[in-house]
Symmetry: C2
Subunit: 351 residues, 2 copies
Amino acid sequence: MGSPGRVGIKDVARLAHVSQGTVSNVLNHPDRVSQARREAVEQAIETLGFVRHEAARHLRAGHSSTVGLLLLDAWNPGFIDVARGVEDMTSARGLAVMISNSGRDIEREKTYLRLFSEGRVAGLIVVPHDEFADGLHRIRAGGVPVVVVDRAETGEHRMSVAVNDVAGGELAARHLIGLGHRHLAFVGDEGAAKPVHDRLTGVRKAVAETRTEANVEIRLDVLPADLTADAGRTVGEQLAAMPPGERPTAVTAAIDLLAFGVLQALLQHGLRVPEHMSLVGYDDIPFTRQLSVPLTTIRRPHYDMGTTAAEMLATTLSGKPPQPRHVVFEPELVVRDSTSRPSKPSRRKPR
Amino acid sequence: MGSPGRVGIKDVARLAHVSQGTVSNVLNHPDRVSQARREAVEQAIETLGFVRHEAARHLRAGHSSTVGLLLLDAWNPGFIDVARGVEDMTSARGLAVMISNSGRDIEREKTYLRLFSEGRVAGLIVVPHDEFADGLHRIRAGGVPVVVVDRAETGEHRMSVAVNDVAGGELAARHLIGLGHRHLAFVGDEGAAKPVHDRLTGVRKAVAETRTEANVEIRLDVLPADLTADAGRTVGEQLAAMPPGERPTAVTAAIDLLAFGVLQALLQHGLRVPEHMSLVGYDDIPFTRQLSVPLTTIRRPHYDMGTTAAEMLATTLSGKPPQPRHVVFEPELVVRDSTSRPSKPSRRKPR
DNA sequence: GCACACTCTTGAAACGTGTCAAGAGAGTTG
DNA sequence: CAACTCTCTTGACACGTTTCAAGAGTGTGC
């Protein structure tokens, strides 16, 4: 009935024979209003189909009660789990979340950041691209609390939730080295996002420490690739095309999605995993266990990262300083079927 | 510098020695302002770090320029593609999208719908749950254009984008029947969402028509299951436990995710796909081709559904009536490796 | 019957912007 | 120089809420 969009608090007041102030009190401080009036007002609201005008409340309040979530790349299932964690926690705390997705496009990221500023969101959770400190800096200067996810930060006035990806890279590499592999490859763009960089650092660290401690020389190749399954497929083909002596016996991928592609290409070219090549992913996204060869991978607690970030933000918004301000999760090695001891191509040829 | 949250148009006006109206014109109608003043104002905006107050503009304008996208289930990769389509199209048209995700929870769906109403979004794209016509009805009555996705509607004052899932069910069943299967099973909850119901209807139609036209009797079992990979795994175990004579020779799943689970369980129990059992998915989500057995499935154009819905909405918002108001996409059979002719258990036992 | 306490209610002000009618200048024409 | 046109600029108002000081009403105690 009627057009709810045009019904205001004063229409309700008129119908219920009370003042605007009373209607407002019914909505925001019901205890201050006598039962009789409250019921009259509620009746009038129902009759008119009145809907609060969020913008007006917001204008009066000076800030909204919405929290922004800016995702780097919503197609990556890992980040969806982050979003799920954020949503579950904020909805439990009575906050609304506005999600947007930059799709690894730095321009869009800026646009959305501006939108969030203009919308005067109460707080912001960001899974950021790399070089965009300036945008974040500005919004922080405006007094909006920001939690950065997947990038370790420090400082009394900042908040962050991250994963120790150096340790993750180490886990992956040590697992392979422990199985006897001496020729490794890391698939992923070295110049890409910080987390990817860290994983490679971890792998290098493991390689270097093996050299010093056990006096075993490990060869490590870095195969650059975008962070998509398609790019993985290309790398897989490169690997398949190498002469067996030159080919690494084990591959660590920067993210599971990449490993998916590598796996697919290897199998297509007749190479068996793990017999001819061991493969380690990274993230443990839900599909990892359902692949043709369930993937050994490094698990990151995406959902918990989301809830943790949301909780920090909610605590800040309620006025208390969150404790701690920086959380770093430790990743975990999950061994499935894609890794094994290397075959010995010198003695027994794989056909 | 300073706190941008507290800088208003009048501070800018004071610094630039102009009136508020002129600042507003610089922001909204730059052509009405002389170059000299414009530059002074722009300078002042820069100096003060002024950020427009969205809520105030919104209040003045009466409606926001944000579009709401309410997703039924953002964990399903298919819906993520819908979101991607919506985002790409709306951002090309200069609209901002606010995404929220009900996670198949009808209470959350209502909450978000209320939030969108209160936020006076310019328009809404909804992938709805089933029984919640009332909420949508109210918001439509308020004059907010709504596009419903994945549910065919009719009527001059409505808009919808859907897929002919009856045809999709038929495609799947005819493919299997054509291969020679005479005992089929449909996995999915009959009482679930409309699209699932339609798929089953399509399967039944194909079965019935085969009976009338070719006089061939097809047996069809319906195995209820939630729409998750886990539920699929349970069904797969049930199937594996059946005596071979009782077991259907081919299975159609309501969605790919379910088929993933079924596949995994079957393989784990030593049944081969497609030799011992053919399997058809539904959706063609990106991981489908990377499974241990790449899945034959019914492709739905999720991304295009998103762009189409967004375009309809954008057209409506720009004042023109969209043409047409209801779009139904036809699904497509994608044959991969999970389907083949049935083995003949009566003559040759599977070992 | 007066003072006081207490509970509800009221009406106006303020939040920051966009709009619009009216006005100020500057230039042009007769 | 007056009359007119045209381009910019101005300042007040409205949008729909919440808040808050002040007022109205109702008991209660002496």
